[in-house]
Amino acid sequence: MENAVQDQKKVEYWRWTESRWTSPDLDWRDGGVISAGVDVGSVSTQAVVMVDGHLYCSSSMRTGSDSPESANNAMSWALEGTGLTLDRIHATVGTGYGRVNVPFATRAITEIACHARGGNFMYGPSVRTILDMGGQDCKAIHCDERGKVSAFLMNDKCAAGTGRGMEVFADLLGVHITEVGEMSFRVAEEPPPVSSTCVVFAKSEASGLLRKGWPKEKVLAAYCSAMAHRVVTLLERIGVEKEFAITGGIAKNVGVVRRLAKEIGIEPLRSDMDAQLAGAIGAALFAKALHEKSAKGA
């Protein structure tokens, strides 16, 4: 009975790869200010440690049902093998849905401010519009050259257009979530998007299409374009400027990203850093600023 919830092949299609990274060029022992950011999202949790404002190590893993535990786990995984310990970190900022539940945080800051700051760091000061496509909500952010928010809009009313929605579809179609994007382009011609913007209704609609004989690829294409379209309507209110970047997990799904770029006619900026880390990077930068501010005050 233990395996009752798993499918026969014991594959969990929605499960994306957790990862950790340490900078090969940096050593925390040589640094001055060590700051950390933890982004406890609805679906994933990221921890980032920065040494003097440079990315030192990071981790990205699934958020469990217990936010403090998720924050602790992500942080200890990021620190694994570095010799660095929590007490040596000068300041930590928590962000994301579970930001008030980061036990070792100096302060909590809204993820909107952190994504703007992190986006500014990852994509350069020219970035003006940041679209964070998270696990459970979607945020359109407009920021200035210092990464300060000048306008924002958050849609957390429903899960359509979010990572959670994509997980549901990966599961429904039995396609691994990392392959969804590429697979959605294996269609002779672009099908019309699924009409509903609600994940639950979209899932019913997709089941219907499958029964009608649509191949998986075509259903995925229809869902990816519906998702892209939904987000574009959000962006319209904030206004998109040419220097545009997408952060969050969906930034890794080319099926959505390319369709979105085509619809707005702007190619998103690229970064060699993981787009999912933007919030945690922003938080770590805020932590550095906080530490410097308190050091100056003391």
């Binding site: 000048s150 306008a151 957390d156 913007t197 501010k293």
Partner: protein, 97 residues
């Protein structure tokens, strides 16, 4: 900063926008709203900020169309006559519908 609270769905666009440059943190809008939609929050966007900011309570952002319903009769209304808009001397509050 233009802080947009609300949502867009098949029925339309429902956003209350707080212009944080104009909001002086007086808090007059909070008791003015009969539905308790507005709250004062810590300004998390600016580490140096000393004043609080008005914001839409998280309890209302997802149902703002209905929360604001009592002040917005079907017979028509003027945005400038809404209690929250009238209470804000700085003119920081706007509605999209």
């Amino acid at each position: 900063m233009q802080a947009n609270y609300g949502y867009k769905d098949g029925a339309g666009e429902f956003f209350i926008t707080i212009d944080t440059e104009k909001c002086d943190g007086c808090g007059d809008c909070v008791p003015a709203c009969p539905q308790h939609v507005l709250v004062m929050i810590e300004n998390e966007f600016d580490l140096d900020a000393e004043k609080e900011l008005a914001a839409v309570s998280a309890l209302h952002t997802k149902k703002i169309k209905y929360s604001c319903g009592p002040c917005k009769p079907a017979a028509g209304y003027a945005i400038e006559d809404l209690p929250c808009v009238r209470a804000c001397a700085a003119g920081a509050i706007t509605h999209s519908w």
